[in-house]
């Protein structure tokens, strides 16, 4: 389908205008252009920092703006703020208003509401705006630092004054240092400078030489001890040393002990069996004892019978 030039132009103008109108309408609705606007009056002792169209912010969100500023007869600055209907719920009777002037960025009025259930702010009521000034806060924070810097600067001044004073401590220290270096240059050694007696220095030197000899001898002895320790080490821990042999022997003993352990176990079981056999022997013995007692009783009876009769006859059971 081929469109005529007029059709294309008409379509372009209509569509573009439609998009522009829709965008403007959306902006107007979103910005609350058709919404009911509530006006509240705030007061401040100074108008400094307040400007028309300044934003009114609640929890970081823009809920309105400053409409006009006015100075009343008492010299109090009246600030008229306009808040759209949908944002008026954030402004309650206990709301506090703070003029926040950041170090960077534009100033704004911040609304803080403690209790959102408290009654709405009466438009006739005129709350006062408190001021929070980042610049002043920054200055207040910097002041002690500046005091300290000034103190340091004064100290540096005192130090430099002392340094430049020809009769000052620094110059005296320098003079002493010069004397010391002169002494260093004239004496043979630091010790001579310290003790101030050449003989003592000689004695000290001899002692030091002796000490050197002694340490040399100790060194030699230590080398020998070291060698011996090496040898001993080889004899004990070497391949044919005592310790590997001992290790083999111990292993053998362990093996044998294990075998012995089994034997002992066997003996234990035999003794247990024997113990149980002994119990049977006890029963047998008591049986025998009973039998012997019975025979003894029979014998006694026989004796009694034989003793009382002339021609004893007895019936064999």
């Amino acid at each position: 389908m081929t469109m005529s030039r007029e059709y294309k132009v008409g379509l372009f103008i209509s569509v573009t205008l439609f998009i522009i109108v829709i965008t403007l309408l959306y902006l107007a609705i979103s910005k609350g252009t058709f919404e009911r606007i509530h006006t509240f009056t705030l007061s401040s002792r100074s108008g400094e920092g307040f400007t028309e169209n300044m934003p009114v912010v609640f929890s970081g969100f823009n809920i309105g703006n400053v409409h006009t500023l006015e100075l009343n007869k008492e010299g109090v600055v009246l600030i008229y703020i306009k808040v759209p209907d949908r944002h008026v719920k954030w402004i309650r009777s206990d709301s506090s208003f703070i003029l926040y002037r950041p170090l960077i960025g534009s100033a704004r009025i911040m609304v803080n509401t403690e209790n959102l259930k408290s009654p709405p702010l009466d438009p006739r009521k005129i709350p006062e705006v408190l001021t929070v000034n980042d610049i002043n806060d920054a200055i207040a924070k910097i002041e002690p630092v500046l005091d300290r810097v000034t103190e340091i600067a004064e100290n540096i001044q005192v130090l430099t004054r002392n340094l430049s004073d020809p009769k000052g401590d620094f110059h005296r220290v320098l003079g002493n240092a010069e004397k010391i270096t002169t002494n260093f240059a004239s004496k043979k050694s630091l010790v001579e400078m310290a003790v101030s007696d050449p003989e003592s220095v000689k004695a000290l030197n001899e002692s030091l030489k002796k000490l050197k000899d002694i340490t040399y001898n100790i060194d030699r002895v230590l080398v020998k001890v070291d060698k011996m320790a090496d040898k001993t080490d080889r004899e004990i821990y070497g391949e044919n040393g005592a310790l590997p042999h001992l290790n083999i022997i111990l292993k053998d003993i362990v093996t044998k002990l294990k075998k012995l352990d089994k034997t002992v176990d066997n003996i234990n079981s035999i003794s247990t069996d024997a113990s149980e056999g002994m119990k049977d022997m006890h029963i047998l013995r008591s049986d025998i004892n009973d039998a012997v007692k019975s025979i003894d009783d029979v014998a006694k009876k026989l004796d009694a019978i034989i003793g009382s009769k002339k021609a004893p006859e007895f019936r064999v059971p």
Binding site: R5, E6, V9, T16, L17, I20, K31, F61
Partner: protein, 261 residues
């Protein structure tokens, strides 16, 4: 020495005369735009053709350029704001600088390069070919038939295309706000809404209309100044284009001054 002062004085007088002629000429065209009799069927046809050549024909290219250029611009500005720790000002920068200042400026530059130069050349060629004389002979009003539709086309095209450019920028801003700041569409919309002032939008549209008026009027004026020789065409075109760019800068400066006060 005398020659120097004479030259200076002559140049000053010429500039003043030129400016006053242009203002008078602009006044005549401006008045005609609001007269009902200007809108004859012939004029309407010329107007439709002018809008077609200036806006509709370049629309695809214009949208592609605005998407790429706008995205690049927003990307650079947003990254700079993030690096400088000025994230809270993206709304102000987006609306105050990119949408209301840069988008009309870039649109007018594009249209000037394409259409204003064409109008300038067309007028100069018509003058050389004595077409204007012919039109006058037939008692066709040049202002109604040639000038008013072109000037009106300039106003309509710049206003519409610039608005389109701004909307494309705002939409690409959603993407860049998400990519650079991790900002969702609601936060972005809130920021843009908080930074939008209807006065700025009205001023922007008004500025676009002024741009449109002058970037078509000045080339017409300089085109009509061509003599009847062919060699005068490039001279008329170059002078016209230089003056158009000067006018763009002057309008931009004036709009900034109006915004300041």
């Amino acid at each position: 020495m005398k020659t120097f002062w004479e030259k200076l004085g002559r140049a000053a007088i010429r500039i003043i005369e030129d400016s006053s002629d242009t203002i008078v000429f602009a006044g005549r065209v401006f008045v005609r735009i609001f007269q009902r009799k200007t809108y004859s069927s012939a004029m309407r046809e010329v107007l439709v053709n002018q809008i077609y050549f200036t806006s509709v024909q370049i629309l695809p290219v214009f949208i592609i350029v605005s998407v790429f250029f706008g995205s690049l611009l927003i990307g650079i500005v947003f990254t700079m704001l993030r690096d400088l720790g000025l994230t809270e000002f993206i709304g102000h920068v987006l609306m105050g600088l990119i949408v209301t200042e840069l988008s009309p400026f870039l649109t007018v530059l594009l249209i000037t390069l394409r259409s204003a130069s064409a109008i300038n050349t067309e007028m100069a060629v018509m003058k050389v070919n004595r077409e204007l004389k012919t039109l006058e002979t037939f008692r066709i009003d040049i202002v109604d038939y040639l000038l008013a539709p072109r000037v009106l086309n300039g106003i309509i095209s710049i206003v519409l295309l610039s608005s389109l450019f701004s909307i494309v920028l705002l939409i690409s801003g959603i993407l860049f706000a998400k990519l650079i700041f991790g900002m969702n569409i609601t936060v972005y919309t809130n920021i843009v809404l908080n930074s939008t002032h209807f006065s700025d939008i009205v001023l922007m549209l008004f500025k676009c209309a002024i741009y449109g008026f002058f970037i078509t009027l000045i080339p017409i004026r300089f085109g009509l100044r061509a003599s009847h020789e062919l060699t005068s065409i490039p001279i008329a075109v170059s002078r016209g284009m230089v003056n158009v760019f000067a006018a763009i800068v002057i309008i931009e400066v004036l709009s900034l001054l109006i915004k300041l006060y």
